[in-house]
């Protein structure tokens, strides 16, 4: 079935249980789908834009109210919507990072944090994760001191992933922020895997900024996200334009250069808004998601040789697994080689694992039902049994 010339209708979430590690939290709610049907046209949310002509002031649809609600929900003071968490990193880096300024990232940081630092002319300095793949406050303080010794100044910014994309581990952002604030280093919490998934309170974390991803964790279309900050920092990162055209003499009101004016002007924003009531509710029930994840892990771990590389017990549903001593032994002699696993899972209606991966791979059970979790668990052990792998 096609939905346009050469464009197949995407049906993966209707036909399969999709455990793609980055897609789970971005699946739309029914309300988001309905809102997109109604607001799919280009500048659809701008019909009632009036002075001062800025997206976050529009009251119909209730965009202004949405901004206030998101800020309050996150325990922060001011929010802007952005085209993905990466654009939040970029806006903050452009505000605080100058040429050759050191910026603290971590050895588990997302690549877009590096790009944001690079584009601002800064230098990335990574806080090393410990052997359990956890970034600690002590390591952050040690790195800040090391940077001071090396460069003569402390880092101008730290970007810390609350849950990292590699292991799905939960890092103690509160303790890290407390440690780094002793050196007056502003802290941006990358909540791409947490905002919209589990409760996040910026005040409790004590951070200066929170970046969230609409398409990764807030049941919204891509590219969408949020940047939240404190009243103290808002005037810096959300500074308003001061430029004037030398010929026309034009000025541009209260547009914000770091946001490039208005940000999400149609389906992306309305999708995020429509999902928001459901997202607020679902974060209260993250324990159910962990229970589903645990059900799958129990069966996976029953396959002899399988190891979970993420922290245990799990605090997030994104999980890194090592099946070198289980499924990969099958791949050595299978005619499809490493592709057999994704192929066999696909035949059982399970999608989202990288084709060819039988050693170290990731999956995410977020958003599936308990029945689907059980089906998934049984599918893994069923495939293992089919190839004679021992079940413990």
């Amino acid at each position: 079935m096609r939905c346009g010339a050469g464009i197949e209708a995407r049906q993966v979430n209707e036909l399969a249980i999709n455990i793609d590690p980055i897609q789970a939290g971005g699946r739309l709610t029914a309300d988001a789908m309905k809102a997109i049907i109604a607001y799919g046209d280009g500048y659809s949310v701008c019909d009632n834009c009036r002075k001062p002509n800025r997206l976050d002031y529009i009251s119909k649809p209730p965009i202004a109210e949405f901004h206030k609600e998101v800020a309050s929900w996150l325990g922060m003071d001011v929010v802007r919507t952005v085209p993905g968490a990466r654009r939040a990193f970029q806006a903050v880096a452009r505000t605080y990072v100058g040429k050759a300024d050191p910026v603290l990232l971590t050895s588990l940081s997302h690549y877009t944090e590096f790009l944001a630092v690079e584009e601002s002319g800064g230098v990335a300095r990574e806080i090393p994760a410990d052997p359990g793949h956890i970034v600690t406050a002590d390591a952050a303080a040690v790195k800040a001191e090391e940077v001071r010794r090396d460069t003569g100044k402390y880092p101008v910014l730290a970007i810390i992933d609350q849950v990292d994309y590699q292991y799905g581990n939960l890092h103690d952002v509160r303790a890290i922020a407390k440690a780094l604030h002793q050196y007056d280093i502003p802290v941006l919490c990358n909540g791409a895997y947490t905002v919209g998934i589990l409760p996040v309170d910026g005040k409790a974390l004590g951070v200066d900024f929170i970046a969230g991803s609409g398409h990764k964790s807030m049941a919204a279309p891509a590219p969408s996200g949020i940047l939240a900050t404190t009243a103290e920092r808002a005037g810096e990162v959300f500074r308003t334009t001061a430029i004037t055209g030398d010929v026309s003499g034009r000025k541009f009101g209260i547009k914000e250069p770091a946001m490039m004016g208005c940000t999400l002007m149609g389906a992306t924003l309305i999708g995020m808004m429509a999902s928001f009531p459901h997202v607020k509710e679902r974060v209260k029930h993250f324990d159910r998601e962990l229970a589903n994840n645990q059900a799958v892990l129990s069966d996976l771990l029953s396959i002899r040789g399988t190891r979970i590389l993420s922290e245990m017990p799990r605090k997030h549903t994104l999980t890194r697994v090592d099946t070198t001593a289980s499924f990969d032994t099958v791949a050595q002699t299978h005619k499809k080689k490493g592709f057999f696993l994704a192929s066999d899972l696909g035949a059982k209606g399970i999608a989202g694992i990288i084709p060819g991966a039988t050693r170290i791979w990731k999956f995410n059970t977020y958003g599936i039902t308990a029945a689907q979790a059980q089906y998934l668990a049984t599918a893994f052990t069923g495939i293992a049994q089919e190839y004679g792998l021992a079940i413990q």
């Binding site: 209707e14 789908m33 689907q372």
Partner: protein, 60 residues
């Protein structure tokens, strides 16, 4: 202008969206439990009414 036809189009697509969500929740087997069957039946009845209304409005 047929506001009714436009409303009906949206209603029908929204109902189809709710049915789509049932397919997602029950993938890959699409075996509906009693609650889901009841909900699907209610949605399909409503969809038929919307389609009837559209026929009346657009083909009159």
């Amino acid at each position: 202008m047929s506001k009714r036809a436009v409303d009906t189009i949206f209603s029908a697509t929204f109902i189809l969206t709710d049915l789509r969500m049932i397919l997602r929740e029950t993938a890959p087997t699409h075996q509906l439990d009693s609650r889901q069957r009841e909900e699907a039946a209610r949605l399909l009845d409503n969809l038929e009414r919307q389609v009837a209304s559209l026929k009346q409005e657009l083909l009159k």
